[in-house]
Symmetry: C2
Subunit: 212 residues, 2 copies
DNA sequence: AGAAAAACACCTCATTTGCGGCATTGTAGA
DNA sequence: TCTACAATGCCGCAAATGAGGTGTTTTTCT
């Protein structure tokens, strides 16, 4: 079994060197480069060809998320674990979408950092339960403020079909009713949702339902 | 500080009693009820008024997810932690949407179960890193198979406006171009995405982009 | 420099859609 | 029982949209 090459991108010298030492002290891991900026890392990452990158989310100059995006574009197999100071950092969501593989707090103790590295290598996504909670919340449609809840059962059904891109006719065929009836329902849906077109309605559906 | 009332819903007698014992052995926690089915739990949950429910995801009869939904509808403050056998259970996503607050494996050792309970009480969402990984993956748009990637920059811009429910005219005003030009772009977009209407196009956008 | 792609713009025509009515039937609640 | 609402269906009209062209200019790449 070979040693895992890890790169650190972090502008604070103390933190950077601290984590580097933790890595080198750990059997199986090796700090193969540490950079104070994303630009410097991007110049050297290809020649180092690391397995894991520990990336500060709030880098000076090019920020950690943009840096993450660029790395992932060129090297799909590299694993990127973001370093944050606070768990409620708004940027965690941007980095999730950009493809981050996990999250660590800068203040996390050495064993936790090593655990996290082991986890990403095993296909997991290490993150604190607080961050996990925030991720789950993003997932969930907020039923409290979901305007589509005032729609009748049939209206919701028709809205669902709309969201799949069907025309009046297609919806009518699917539900075994007249296209005119579909139009009638749509009129009511538009009124209740305060919209004036299919597209606007579909837009609202996805806004509240998030996914699916 | 009072003891935390916990309910267990699990059809396997051994597992149910095992977890009940773990809870009662732990200072601060108390197993205030354990049921082999969702129906039985739903009958009694109100009078017990627990703080946390440990719920088997694959219950006989009414399943754990439906059960979760009903509980959350009536008692918003109760925390529900799902019990699964496998980490790759497809139903974890359904239960996320239904409002689960965390996940435990039935085989998890006592300390892990207690940690998880502490975590949910502190506003976290305990789950294994494997499950977290799967959640993150759902979040991320799959750029590999994202048809919208073949669109030009301007076309993507117009598609984004479309997804907000704008008409041709509104998009034209927003981008300072003629409505006719917008129509032109849309024609190309439809061709590239193999769709024939705004609604279909918007449907595709959200399918690939998932959220935002 | 030349070719290709992207962005811009206009035209026509058939279809779809949004909106205004109107009417019937069934169901659930006051 | 009366009322409200949901679900069904139809008519007409104006506006928006989809699909087929054509053409110019700018940008990008070779």
């Amino acid at each position: 079994m070979e040693t895992i090459k890890v790169i650190i991108v972090e502008d604070d010298d103390l933190i950077r060197d601290g984590i580097a030492n933790i890595l080198d002290d750990q059997l199986g891991y090796q700090c193969s480069g540490s950079f104070p900026s994303g630009e410097l890392m991007l110049e050297n990452v290809k020649s180092i060809n690391p397995r894991i990158i520990l990336m500060d989310i709030g880098l000076p100059g090019i920020n950690g998320i943009e840096c993450l995006r660029q790395v992932k574009q060129n090297m799909q197999d590299v694993l990127v674990v973001m370093l944050t100071i606070f768990e409620d950092d708004e940027r965690v969501f941007d980095s999730i979408i950009a493809g981050a593989d996990g999250y660590l707090l800068k203040k996390d103790p050495a064993p936790k950092i090593i655990d996290a590295l082991n986890d990403v290598l095993n296909g997991g996504a290490p993150m604190s339960n607080q961050i996990a909670k925030r991720v789950l919340d993003k997932f969930r449609p907020n039923l409290e403020e979901d305007e589509t809840q005032i729609l009748s059962k049939r209206e919701k059904e028709i809205l669902d079909h709309l969201a799949k891109g069907f025309t009046h006719k297609q919806i009518a065929e699917n539900l075994f009713i007249s296209p005119e009836t579909v139009r009638g329902h749509l009129k009511n849906i538009y009124q209740k949702l305060h919209v004036h077109s299919k597209t606007e309605a579909v837009s609202k559906v996805f806004h509240y339902k998030k996914l699916r």
